[in-house]
């Protein structure tokens, strides 16, 4: 590329000078070829120096610019001197007597300008590439951060829940071995799900619901008759994609406020329907929102952030009193289906 560039340039300038003097001789072509053999390694040397002087990683270039100007001038002078020697002793078309200083200076200046332009072009391309690399790195960093953020925000299984489950199982071994076996299966499924989807950003509604059913089965054993639940889902919703643990988080919240807080317990209703091109997931529990409670708990806050990172402002989460005795948490998510 570099060699080809110099070849074309010197060929053109040779032709230009020949045309100027009105004659195209083999000699002038040979001279240009000689110059080509000189300028290709010379520009390579400039390139080497640019990197050696760490041009691209420095902030201040004033001294480097001076050094480059000086160096290219030196190279152009040496080059022109060598060409002159070649013309005198190689081709015998010039002697020290016919040697003219003004012509020498003009050709030196000409070659120096070209060498400088070459250097400038090299620096520009270099800077452009460095910029591109920098931008790419920034984009990669951004997306890595984004992913880390999503993972960190992922709803974690509540250790309080897990240890209560284990305690209940230990108690249940004395009462009913069959129920204990079922509890172990439910908890295993829950753990599998949370390990499996800890690296994933979306799951299908039916996968999430299966998880929620396991969760509710264990909570129903913990709270006994205090926990009642109902699940109503449009058939078409089952293969839509949602963030993992999102429904479970709403259910966990509903249990915390609607069941665990109340001595007689209550009912949890989960419903999923289509509303235009959105999926509407509603989880209701008995009770009323406390006006004094200041905003979301950590779980809801995390879910909100996950929604924003993943769907920008296409998804919404709202919490309100649905009736004088019910609270509803509503999650609205744009419909996406897995590619199959």
């Amino acid at each position: 590329m570099n060699a080809a560039g110099w070849f074309i340039f010197l060929l053109l300038s040779g032709l230009f000078f020949s045309a100027l003097s009105g004659q195209l001789t083999v000699n002038s072509l040979v001279i240009q070829l000689f110059a080509w053999f000189y300028y290709v390694p010379a520009s390579g040397l400039v390139r080497h120096l640019i990197h050696r002087w760490e041009w691209f990683s420095r902030k201040h270039h004033a001294r480097l610019v001076l050094m480059l100007i000086g160096f290219t001038l030196l190279l152009a002078t040496i080059g022109q001197f060598l060409v002159s020697l070649f013309m005198m002793y190689g081709l015998h078309i010039m002697t020290w007597q016919t040697y003219s200083v003004p012509v020498l200076l003009v050709t030196i200046a000409q070659n120096w300008i070209v060498l400088s332009l070459w250097t400038l072009l090299y620096l520009m391309i270099g800077h452009y590439r460095a910029n591109r690399r920098q931008q790419l790195r920034e984009i990669e960093l951004q997306s890595a951060l984004h992913k880390a953020e999503l993972l960190a925000l992922k709803a974690q299984l509540n250790p309080h829940f897990i240890f209560n489950c284990l305690n209940n199982m230990r108690a249940m071994t004395l009462e009913n071995a069959e129920t204990t076996r079922k509890m172990i299966t439910h908890l295993s499924e829950i753990l599998k799900y949370s390990f499996r989807f800890s690296e994933q950003t979306q799951v299908t509604v039916s996968e999430e619901l299966q998880h929620v059913r396991n969760y509710l089965a264990l909570e129903a054993i913990h709270f006994e008759q205090r926990l009642q639940h109902k699940i109503e889902v449009d058939e078409d919703c089952f293969n839509c994609l949602i963030p993992p643990m999102s429904i479970q988080l709403l259910v966990e919240n509903a249990i915390k406020h609607g069941i665990a807080n109340s001595a007689q317990g209550g009912m949890i209703i989960i419903s999923i329907i289509f509303v235009q091109d959105h999926l509407q997931i509603t989880v209701m529990n008995d009770g009323q929102l406390q006006k004094s409670s200041n905003g979301d708990g950590i779980g809801l806050k995390n879910l909100r952030q996950r929604l924003r990172l993943f769907y920008q402002d296409q998804a919404a989460l709202s919490l309100q009193n649905a009736s004088p005795s019910q609270v509803s948490a509503q999650l609205t998510i744009p419909v996406t289906k897995p590619q199959s």
């Binding site: 250790p159 309080h160 897990i162 240890f163 209560n164 284990l166 305690n167 209940n168 230990r170 108690a171 249940m172 004395l174 009462e175 054993i221 913990h222 709270f223 006994e224 665990a260 807080n261 109340s262 001595a263």
Partner: protein, 250 residues
């Protein structure tokens, strides 16, 4: 030949936990410990409080998260606070409170050895108490009784002997012990009714003092004033000065 009478401990216990299975499990584990007799169990704070106005146990196994009153709130409601062992499944907030305040706790599922250590401690404390306070009067709070106070993150089981001063703060009462001055959500009048008046004395409308903490008594204006162990100076009202003299047979 020395006579060795084995002191067979008989310690009554209440279990308070909203989960039936959790209560079941703890009862099962406690079968290994014959000194502990579980006499009552309750599924929430209100039920527990009602039971404890009937019979006060020696020890409470108490869950924190419960519907209605939580474990801490229940303790604050009690006049007499028995020994308490908190029992909870992993709960960051509660664990912090237990550790910060050096409270006894067990984590569900309970490790049998941890329970054995807790029971050993209960037996030891029970023994100490029965030796120092042989006769417990039901309705009067003696100096060996303890109350539970919670002030924000901090909480204490305070033995009344350590409290030198009770002071009115609106509907609450500020307790002074060691370097702490937390508030108890009872009025001074409510407390005064329950305190043993051979140990505690109402100095004036706003202050009630522990007689054991008086270091100096001096005449003051038309009445008297006393100095307490930590340097507080309490003025006795004129009416109370007379009573104080009678009490101390001055």
């Amino acid at each position: 030949m020395t006579e060795n009478i084995p002191l067979k401990a008989h310690i009554t216990a209440h279990i308070i936990d909203d989960s039936r299975l959790a209560r079941q499990e703890l009862k099962h584990l406690l079968k290994q410990h014959q000194s502990i007799h579980v006499t009552h169990e309750a599924a929430n704070g209100e039920q527990a409080q009602a039971q404890m106005t009937e019979t006060l146990p020696d020890v409470l196994f108490l869950d924190i998260q419960m519907p209605g009153m939580d474990g801490f709130e229940l303790l604050q409601q009690l006049d007499h606070v028995p020994q308490v062992v908190f029992v909870t499944a992993y709960d960051e907030y509660a664990l912090k409170a237990f550790q910060h305040n050096a409270l006894d706790y067990l984590q569900k599922p309970i490790e049998p050895e941890a329970l054995a250590r807790a029971v050993a401690k209960i037996e030891q404390q029970h023994l100490n108490r029965t030796l120092t306070a042989p006769l417990k009067q039901r309705d009067i709070l003696g100096i060996d009784d303890q109350v539970f106070v919670k002030d924000g993150e901090q909480c204490w089981f305070v033995t009344l002997a350590d409290i030198r001063l009770f002071e009115v703060s609106g509907n609450y009462t500020t307790l002074y012990f060691d370097d702490n001055q937390p508030m108890l959500n009872k009025t001074l009048n409510q407390l005064a009714e329950r305190l043993d008046n051979s140990q505690f004395f109402r100095a004036n409308r706003n202050q009630l003092i522990n007689l054991n903490h008086i270091t100096k008594v001096e005449p003051w204006m038309q009445g008297m004033r006393v100095h307490l162990s930590a340097g507080e100076t309490i003025e006795l009202s004129r009416r109370q000065t007379q009573q104080f003299k009678e009490l101390m047979s001055l």
